[in-house]
């Protein structure tokens, strides 16, 4: 497994496909924090949604970094499709982790916030970014080449599902009133609700952590379904 993760990472690194999304991500941070001071949680909420989209971009490029023919060979050596896809997901998650740290640290390092920054803000900021990034990986994985043959469709698919998830969360759409559907839809809105409180509040109820946990659990379930579907596919 370690060998596979390392291989995927090196392949991705050497294809330079990370350059465009990474540049856009940094640019977005720079622009967002051009004027100071900025509200803390509000800013984090905004950049976490940006990361939610950019992570879709990263996910597709990480999944598609390897040559299509080589993919068959690599899976053969790994002797196991599950391990292969877990390794890709791990690479996405590691990338997400780095981006989250950058997104949380950037405004602190450059003193872009209004006074009153508390360590709990950093924790909440990190959780908001990381949970949405992982959710984005989970949703985007379904539009990678294993399931979507056409590259253009991959991009449309990812953009649609990410925008769709956001719209459902922002506009309190009618269907949300039905409890069951509520559970099935991507739980983007939890993070947004949590992050919409005032910067003055430095104590968060335990429920908040539960909601973040749910975003991670939801993502994990989606990823598990994705890997199960990929394993079922026979094509070799």
């Amino acid at each position: 497994m370690k060998g596979l993760v390392h291989y995927h990472f090196t392949t991705y690194f050497r294809t330079y496909k990370y350059v465009p999304p990474f540049s856009v991500f940094i640019m977005m941070l720079v622009i967002n924090y051009t004027y100071v001071p900025n509200p803390i949680l509000d800013s984090y909420s905004y950049t976490s949604i940006m990361l939610f989209f950019i992570m879709g971009w990263f996910t597709i490029t990480i999944f598609h970094a390897e040559d299509e023919g080589q993919k068959q060979i690599t899976i053969m050596h790994a002797k196991n499709k599950k391990v292969y896809y877990i390794s890709l997901i791990l690479n996405c998650t590691l990338t997400a982790l780095v981006l989250c740290i950058v997104a949380v640290a950037y405004p602190v390092v450059f003193n872009a916030f209004t006074p009153g920054l508390h360590s709990i803000h950093l924790v909440m900021g990190f959780l908001a970014h990381f949970s949405l990034a992982v959710l984005s990986i989970a949703l985007s994985s379904f539009f990678t080449r294993g399931l979507v043959k056409n590259n253009v469709n991959s991009w449309w698919g990812v953009i649609s599902i990410l925008i769709g998830s956001l719209v459902i969360s922002v506009e309190k759409v009618e269907v949300l009133k039905i409890k069951l559907i509520n559970w099935v839809l991507p739980p983007l809105r939890y993070s947004m609700e949590i992050m919409s409180v005032d910067d003055q509040s430095i104590s968060f109820p335990v429920k908040v952590y539960g909601q973040f946990a749910w975003i991670f659990i939801y993502s994990l379930i989606v990823i598990t379904i994705f890997i199960a579907v990929m394993e079922k596919r026979k094509a070799l």
Binding site: Y7, T10, T15, G69, I73, T74, M76, H77, A78, L236
Partner: protein
């Protein structure tokens, strides 16, 4: 000779489409077998069945008397973009396979030697020609010790020079006691190396020896030697014993056919045993109509 893989009444279909209908064939040990047929006739499917990558619907696939066969599989599509050098690439693949690093480095060294790629071990594969990329793809299939190398269309897309080099490579693999099964469109290209041809047509197969190739490059040898000298070890090599008869009390005469490539070796082994050459002539060339239809 013992087959390394034996297919008995193997049937395979994809959903409703029948690809192979009760096919029986055997892949001989230490020989090169070519599978030919039209596009979509089921060549790749047959290779995957032989290599155990897919399962047959019915029938049996038997491997060399219980002994496990170590396969190397070279897929039809040669990867075009690999951002590594051969050494880096093979190290990655070997590590993913779970091979121990020290052993792996040794093996990669050996492979680079076999494939005449030592000078290119540290150059990026992206800059390689199609033929060299193909070689790297074959090397990855042989990272572990290999008994049977399975290659899907190894010649497609290669220029004449690379094809010739591939032929030589096949000969050197054969000398290393590696059995080879490959698919191709045209048998003409490989006549020098292919020992057996399997033709797939409409879900059935015709299995033939490559007479043309054999007769073209075979020599007939006759030796005379002392009766008590053992030649059992020679008999186990790539020779066809035609006859053996006693001459008087001490001597015996042996007639055999040997392929051109092995002639030198066999002759020197006989001479080492004190034999004397009575005859050495090339076998008659005969065009076989059969092969020309492909």
């Amino acid at each position: 000779m013992n087959p390394i893989v034996d297919l008995q009444n193997v049937t395979k279909s994809y959903r409703d489409k029948l690809v192979l209908d009760a096919v029986s064939l055997s892949i001989p040990t230490n020989q090169v077998t070519a599978i030919v047929g039209k596009n979509g006739s089921g060549k790749s499917t047959l290779l995957k069945l032989i290599g155990g990558l897919i399962k047959a619907d019915r029938g049996e696939i038997l491997y060399r008397n219980g002994e496990p066969v170590r396969f190397g599989y070279v897929p039809e599509v040669t990867p075009t973009y690999i951002p590594f050098t051969p050494i880096e690439y093979l190290t990655h693949m070997g590590t993913i396979r779970g091979l121990q690093n020290k052993w792996l480095q040794q093996r990669i060294h050996t492979l680079l030697e076999i494939f005449h790629m030592k000078d290119n071990g540290n150059n990026r594969i992206v800059h390689f020609s199609k033929g060299m990329k193909q070689k790297v793809t074959i090397m990855q299939a042989m990272l572990e010790e290999t008994d049977l190398l399975i290659m899907d269309e190894p010649l497609s897309g290669l220029d004449l020079e690379a094809q010739t080099e591939m032929e030589e490579l096949l000969i050197s693999l054969k000398e290393r006691n590696i059995s080879v099964v490959l698919t191709c469109h045209e048998t003409k290209l490989l006549q020098r190396v292919v020992d057996q041809i399997i033709v797939i047509d409409q879900c059935n197969i015709i299995q033939t020896e490559n007479h043309q190739a054999q007769e073209k490059s075979m020599n007939r040898l006759i030796f005379e030697l002392t009766k008590t000298v053992s030649i059992d070890s020679i008999k186990q090599q790539n020779v066809i014993i035609k006859q053996e008869k006693e001459m008087g009390f001490h001597k015996k005469m042996i007639e055999l056919n040997v392929s051109e490539e092995h002639t030198n070796k066999i002759v020197s082994e006989f001479l080492d045993r004190g034999a004397s050459i009575k005859l050495l002539e090339p076998l008659h060339k005969k065009e076989t109509e059969f092969l020309n239809q492909f």
